[in-house]
């Protein structure tokens, strides 16, 4: 009986340890053709805006596959995959190749969303004409805020990036200082994003009622129709220092990602006006990972359909036009036309 039990134990141990290989998928190959197929499969299965971008990924990969063979250099293979990346016309979708030790970026493929758009922000003009010593600067320039010398009734808030931490108490202090202002300029030009949680938290200070802001359409499976919509409402902050007076949000093509999240969150609010240039977009959420050879990919795995203050739906990946379009004249260094237009609007 005991011997029988030992034999059974031996069989169980052997089979269970072998199970690991049964449960795991086979290790991927790292040949050029395998990497090409892996990347095109990723884009086909994960990219959330193929339809909006009118990109037939099967056709594109078929047309590129003929150039791929296992004799290609890494540079050449990367360039071929880079064609797919750039065809997505998406600032979030990037392919990067690093050195064998992983410490040096060798190649990157992406789509330049700002190319062809006018410069709409000048740091020197801002620093010399509008930022003054009476303003509050959060450490590491996380935010700058205060009253404008051009009109002391108008408050100004500059957030250059949402890739920072701003604590609840700092936000409270900030919005307390805005309470007596008759209008607020929120300058998010060249803010390429960061944490959508922070940008949404700031947006929640501009409403006292829950409002519908649109929906995010997530890729949830490998099939071309495997999408699921998450409808989004902006819930008001629980703070008693909400700012419910007119707000001018300054935008340019550098407004991207989590900053777009901020924009679409406040877009349905009638008291919020957008002034400047078309935003960059990048409304989709981003996933990233490694190909089998270590190349690092980023892909947008969702799309956001926002609503404006008239209730019209719009796809936000390529940004949106501001309510008031203003060009910055970089040759005139004594004023920022976009800020001046915002002051005028709030007056």
């Amino acid at each position: 009986m005991k011997n029988k039990a030992l034999i059974i134990i031996g069989i169980i141990l052997f089979t269970t340890v072998s199970c690991e290989k049964i449960f795991m998928k086979p290790k991927p190959k790292t040949t050029n053709t395998a990497i090409f197929e892996e990347y095109t499969k990723l884009v086909r299965e994960k990219y959330g805006m193929l339809e909006f971008k009118q990109l037939d990924i099967n056709h594109l990969s078929d047309s590129l596959r003929v150039f791929v063979n296992d004799d290609l250099t890494e540079d050449s293979l990367f360039n071929i995959l880079g064609v797919i990346t750039s065809r997505l016309k998406d600032g979030h979708s990037v392919l990067r190749r690093y050195s064998p030790l992983g410490n040096e970026l060798i190649q990157a493929a992406f789509f330049d969303i700002e190319k062809g758009y006018p410069v709409s922000f000048h740091q020197g003009i801002l620093d010399n004409i509008y930022i003054h010593s009476g303003m509050t600067k959060l450490s590491d320039d996380r935010a700058i805020y205060g009253r404008l010398t051009q009109d002391a009734d108008i408050a100004y808030l500059r957030i250059a990036s949402f890739d920072v931490d701003i604590s609840d108490s700092e936000l409270e202090e900030m919005f307390t200082s805005f309470s007596s202002a008759k209008g607020l300029i929120v300058d998010v030009r060249q803010n390429g994003g960061g944490s959508p949680n922070l940008s949404t938290k700031i947006a929640s200070y501009f409403t006292d009622a829950e409002i519908y802001i649109g929906y995010e359409n997530f890729k949830v499976g490998p099939g071309e129709n495997d999408f699921s919509k998450s409808f989004a409402n902006l819930k008001p902050s629980t703070s008693s220092n909400k700012f419910l007076k007119p707000v001018a949000v300054l935008t340019d093509r550098g407004v991207y990602s989590a900053t777009t999240t901020f924009c679409y969150s406040v877009n349905p609010l009638a008291k919020v006006k957008f002034i400047g240039q078309r935003t960059g977009g990048g409304s989709g959420s981003v996933a990233d990972g490694y190909l089998a050879n270590g190349w690092h990919w980023n892909l947008s795995v969702s799309e956001f359909i926002g609503v404006d203050d008239s209730g019209n739906e719009q796809h936000l990946d390529n940004g949106f036009e501001p309510d008031i379009s203003v060009l910055l004249d970089t040759l005139v260094t004594t004023q920022d036309e976009i800020i001046e237009r915002a002051i005028l609007e709030l007056q």
Partner: protein, 276 residues
């Protein structure tokens, strides 16, 4: 599935009721408190993102206590291990922490199994947490998988000689609550996205440590197998080889799999028999 469930209920309810009805005049209880240290080899694959297998070898720790009479056995164990995972094909690494808290209960007097040295029962993995951080990634840097589950447990003990005995145990997961922070595409649980509940203002959809959005899953979607081969030398020392498998599927054909091989030595700093 139904039969397994029935067996499980029988083990936990019927046997304990029967046992309670029997009056024991005297019983001996073997009490053990122990600490184990060993090496672990972890393997990780998340097929939703890549078929690349990541492996790492480092330290494993086990702390526990057990009680054993001629009728029953129970043990409470904490297991923790830490490894740095890497792939052969590229240099990027991930730090992996795994922690687990188990309660095991088994009866020795199972009348329907005619095998001396066998004990059968169940294992409640109160909490099983896997935390894998791919430090060089962006949004998807964090794999956080946690579960609480019930397994069917069986152990066979065999005396080799006076000083040495061997035991082999097997636990097969039946069902449990599970949460995986990453979905097919994004760093939020799959059910949050499928149910249309994603919200940047809801901390539960964004925070991997939130207790919201756990799902009840049964064997098939949530597969766990744990085996342990242990040699017990006299009162104080044990040497063990353990193999654990965790396999969870949120999207069909794209499972996440974590496997562990652990070799270690255990020291029973308390090992005494009391007669009550």
């Amino acid at each position: 599935m139904r039969n397994i469930f029935k067996l499980f209920i029988i083990l936990f309810l019927t046997q304990s009721v029967v046992a309670q009805e029997k009056t024991e005049l005297k019983r001996t209880v073997l009490k053990k408190n122990y600490i184990g240290l060993g090496g672990v080899r972890n393997s990780f694959q998340d097929a939703k993102f890549s078929n690349t297998q990541y492996h790492g070898t480092l330290l494993s720790l086990n702390i526990g206590t057990s009680r054993e009479t001629d009728k029953y056995f129970w043990a409470i164990d904490f297991n923790g291990d830490f490894t740095k995972l890497s792939a052969k094909t590229h240099p990027f690494v991930a730090a992996a922490f795994h922690g687990r808290f188990d309660f095991t209960y088994a009866r020795k007097d199972l009348s329907f199994i005619h095998l001396d040295g066998f004990r059968g029962g169940g294992k409640w993995t109160v909490a099983d947490v896997n935390f894998i951080n791919f430090t060089d990634l962006g949004n998807n840097k964090l794999n956080f998988i946690s579960s609480s589950r019930l397994s069917l447990f069986g152990e066979y003990n065999y005396a080799i000689n006076e000083n040495l005995n061997a035991s082999f145990s097997l636990a097969v997961g039946l069902f449990g609550l599970v949460k995986e922070f990453k979905s097919f595409g994004y760093s939020a649980p799959q059910n949050v996205l499928e149910d249309g509940k994603f919200d940047f203002q809801d901390n539960g959809t964004q925070n991997p440590f939130s207790l919201k959005y756990y799902q009840f899953k049964t064997i098939g979607r949530l597969n766990t197998i744990e085996t342990k081969l242990q040699l017990n030398y006299k009162k104080r020392w044990s040497f063990y080889y353990q193999w654990n498998l965790f396999n969870y599927t949120t999207v069909k054909r794209y499972p996440l799999t974590i496997a562990q091989h652990i070799i270690g030595a255990r020291f029973n700093f308390i090992s005494k028999t009391k007669t009550k």
